[in-house]
Symmetry: D2
């Protein structure tokens, strides 16, 4: 038996996509293909030192560039796209974070309008130590510093949205997009409902690490080398992004106010458990009530995101999407050799 | 050296408190005292089988009875009360959960009003196995069942509120109250700002386990045998409930919409790290952004609650409240013998 | 036939009530009584010039003093209290407004926490011209000034809350309280559900005028001479404050987020129209959809308030609470002579 | 002097636009042109009787068709488009409303997820009497009916959005769109910031009347004959939709939660008054606090909308956009002859 089909792709700046939907595909891929991708950081590498202010370097809408979109052969509305992240690794030895005027959870914004002055724009540069698997935080004022674990992930993973819409890569919604959840790490499988022919997925916004909620709105941002496997689940729809790893199944809801993100995520988890385990809806509601973990993903993006997690050890007999993840793990293993 | 002063107290039904504030203290205690307490379940033991509907058994306001309040000698407004939970153990071999009409995250409520019919009221009884440290979930329809880990905690811990107010024990706010966070477990120290002379704290609402968010509004409810140590930090105020365990320091914010609970919790964590580590406010904001864990506690109570956690391993040099927890751990060790 | 029973009452400072619930009644009154009351301004007359900063003059909880509470003979839980405002007139020739740190709709607050600096605290004093029925706005910087219509109203009207609670007079909720709606003017009848024996109503927080939403959190505040008639509707409950004037019936919902205040108000209007007109719930929903006016009352208090208004001209045959307002208008006419 | 240039345009079904942004312009127009337009109803005329269920007749995304977009010669990003509505008149003698599953303010939705059953789908047909200027409401159950004033308006008016986005015509945002405010009536001038060359504006969603908030999500929907004048204000930007009529200037904010829509609208009104009257920001904040009217526009669309109104009689000296409306009124008068 031959190994998986491997496609390597590193976009040039002119290849970046700036939207979900509305961008021409960069290539066609097939279910089972392994993609070796490079993603630029959310600032297109223009914020490199504490003197580089994002508000000066970035011209809207050229923020959060996407690698893709990829046209998945055979994908049609009503199907589910599965993306399995084999590895997500920093492609540089530095990352960067910053406050950004009127963006973040602990500032007024263009929506939560106040008449107060914006917070100052301050940049933090993080040194990456790949051997130690750390990034180094250093206070800009005073002398506090600490090594934090390197925990690479993608903030942005999505498909073209429904209803003819074209959305900014800053937006998380039912099509995925800028979910900004640390759960989108190597080893995670992401399920996304297909809205248009070919699905047209893209990824970007690598984070070397972030806290839950991404409080100031900007993680430790960095370019990534990422390997993922593409698969397609025909004839089964997925209403909101779902994730699966060795430990848990998860649903990601994105909305404002934040309680609606919670309601979407936990409502979808109730439905999903109902489908997979044959549980009555109130029985599933009860089970979710007692077992869910509910980390917040972001409270800064145009929609806020909550993840509802159910540990598999509490779900005997569950085989999500008829075991779709098994096939992806096999391909990942074959790729690794 | 003598051991700690130990006080055992098991309230009768007529001793229950039904409010935070406005209830006469059941006794005076001193900093350093160890309290062995019994708390009834939130339904005052009236929901015992799948035939007992809470909506029929309970007459408002006689829901969520509190054990207390306790008058802490020397406690004055501007101080901080520290309560350290030595142990929280089920006092029964069964717990109970239920849907409750117009209460919970995935139903309309008396605030999130819709014209739809309420969900049916269904009761689940959980068998507790203290040896195996489990509770057993059984679906009411169909045959699914699973053992879940016993993870006892108190949903409700608080002091008398400020501004002459008297609040229902269903309400979480700056005085604590019905936070419904699984972090309130044995081993956790809870810090609460004192608003009135004597602090007047009480506890209740034992949960044998709950998921984050307490989605349907009702955990696995049960009576508890709880041991806690009382301490007082003079001359230092605490704006919102804070928690500490071996692994993390935490802030609990309660408000609606849920993003305001997030803002309160993470804003308080930023301030707290600033105070403890001497960090500039933007440096603390940045650090919180990259290290916080942000579990949701409840999305069902009159205010929703979010917890902001900072792992201590990322906070070298931190000794919260000048090491107040050390003294509590010593007393707990002396109590255990 | 004799005229109505008229009771005049002007509280001294030590007579003020600082809560809804929990305060001893200042007197007993009977249904049909006319009360001539004086209410102090929300700052207890301590902010009188542009040099008087509320943050320096006011010590919590001594803000928003209430005149009352009044014990209404015969009032029991399940009844409805009707208060008809015969006249609301400034008792002074000046009013005052101010920004207040971390309070108001266009600033961060103690709940909508940000790390930005608070807005400056600035005071505006308004000259009242009773002949012209105006208040004069003068910009603090520059030379803009304008006469605005005098439109006196009470920000705060309420009864003791349910469930043993005691609430700050800054809070609007189902018991009324700090609704801050301009609809609470002379000529309006206010219906409040009775939660405790005697109802224990009080009024305060006179506004010489305010915009809808009370954007900065502080209206043109001023002491008032107010005449109202008390009545009692036995055996009929009222879930949320309702108002009636010559033109409209209205429901006031208070909650966060603001859409829940909308849902409460419009949901109650749907139910009320259903009761009064015998409409099916979906028919009432449809009618409310096409006729309601939906002014915002406040977006600054601990709960936000929305009013749902239905013009009577679109409601042929309606006689709210079996014409309760007619009796009140008769007493008001008899009082006026 | 010659009269205005008048362009009549009635789209066929294949000419409808289904998005803001992303649709090719149907024609070019010039500042000063008068457009006589026909707009279909939001259901593309497919819901005509109480037996026509929208959920069966409509296939997404073919809901809320737009007449346009029109390319305005000379319009560039940073300019302001002014649309003055000369007349908006029903083109039929019937209108229609309906409940729609999981849509509306008093039901759970796809965002405010609950596990309750949806409300039934019920249709109301309204007879239009153009002589009497009324629409007739008739209850579906029972015998209540009432004539309501005909008050025609457009629910949807907007331009192409910024940041390369393409939005559904159901969405209100900074580009206008589905604001659903009754203020968009004949006599109103609407100012919209231009985001793309040509502005690409369109209109649709005629309402024969609606209450504020559009509670059930569907007004009295109907096809319209509408006359508007187009103008362009070069070199002046407009951040959010603004409106002006003879009585008031207004700002429309759209967001979730509803308080953010309030903050946007009132924050923009503060800024606008500051620009137009030279007021300091806090002076403008104070003035808005005392004079604003704050009707809710919709609490059903993907963003909720609030309007902040300032009566011109309280704003001596104001001439918005240097009197842009005067020129539009002149053209309207010339058109009428």
């Amino acid at each position: 038996m031959s190994g998986p089909n491997v496609i390597a792709y590193r976009p040039s700046r002119e290849d970046y996509a700036w939207t979900f939907g509305g961008a021409a595909p960069v290539m066609k891929v097939r279910p089972g293909d392994v993609l070796e991708l490079w993603t630029d950081d959310c600032f297109t590498s223009l914020v490199r030192s504490t003197h580089d202010l994002a508000s000066e370097k970035i011209v809207f809408p050229f923020l959060n560039p996407q690698t893709g979109p990829f046209f998945v052969e055979g994908a049609e509305p009503g199907d589910t796209l599965a993306l399995h992240f084999v590895s997500i690794e920093p492609s540089r030895d530095w990352g960067v974070s910053t406050t950004f005027p009127l963006f973040g959870a602990l500032t007024s914004t263009t929506r939560t309008v106040t008449l107060q002055d914006p917070l100052p724009e301050v940049v933090w540069v993080y040194e990456v130590d790949r051997q130690r698997r750390t990034v180094r935080y250093e206070a800009r004022r005073g002398h506090f510093s600490v090594e934090l674990p390197l925990e690479p992930m993608h903030g942005t993973v999505g498909v073209a949205p429904p209803n003819l819409e074209v959305r900014s890569p800053l937006v998380p919604d039912s099509h995925g997009g800028n979910l900004d959840t640390p759960e989108m790490r190597a080893g995670t499988t992401c399920y996304l409902g297909v809205n248009v022919e070919g699905a047209l997925f893209s990824i970007g916004d690598g984070h070397y690490r972030q806290g839950e909620g991404e409080t100031c709105g900007v993680a430790v941002e960095g370019a990534m080398d990422t390997v993922l496997v593409v698969d397609l689940i025909k004839g089964r729809s997925t209403p909101w992004p779902r994730l699966e790893d060795d430990r848990s199944i998860m649903c990601a809801g994105s909305a404002r106010p934040l309680e609606d993100a919670f309601r979407i995520a936990h409502g979808d988890l109730v439905r999903w458990l109902g489908e997979e385990l044959g549980l009555d809806v109130l029985d599933a509601y009860q089970l979710v009530t007692q077992i869910s973990e509910s980390p917040i993903a972001n409270v800064c993006d145009p929609n806020y995101t909550v993840v509802a997690k159910a540990p598999k050890r509490h779900l005997p007999g569950l085989s999500a999407y008829d075991g779709a993840r098994s096939r992806l793990l096999e391909i990942a293993a074959a790729y690794r050799g």
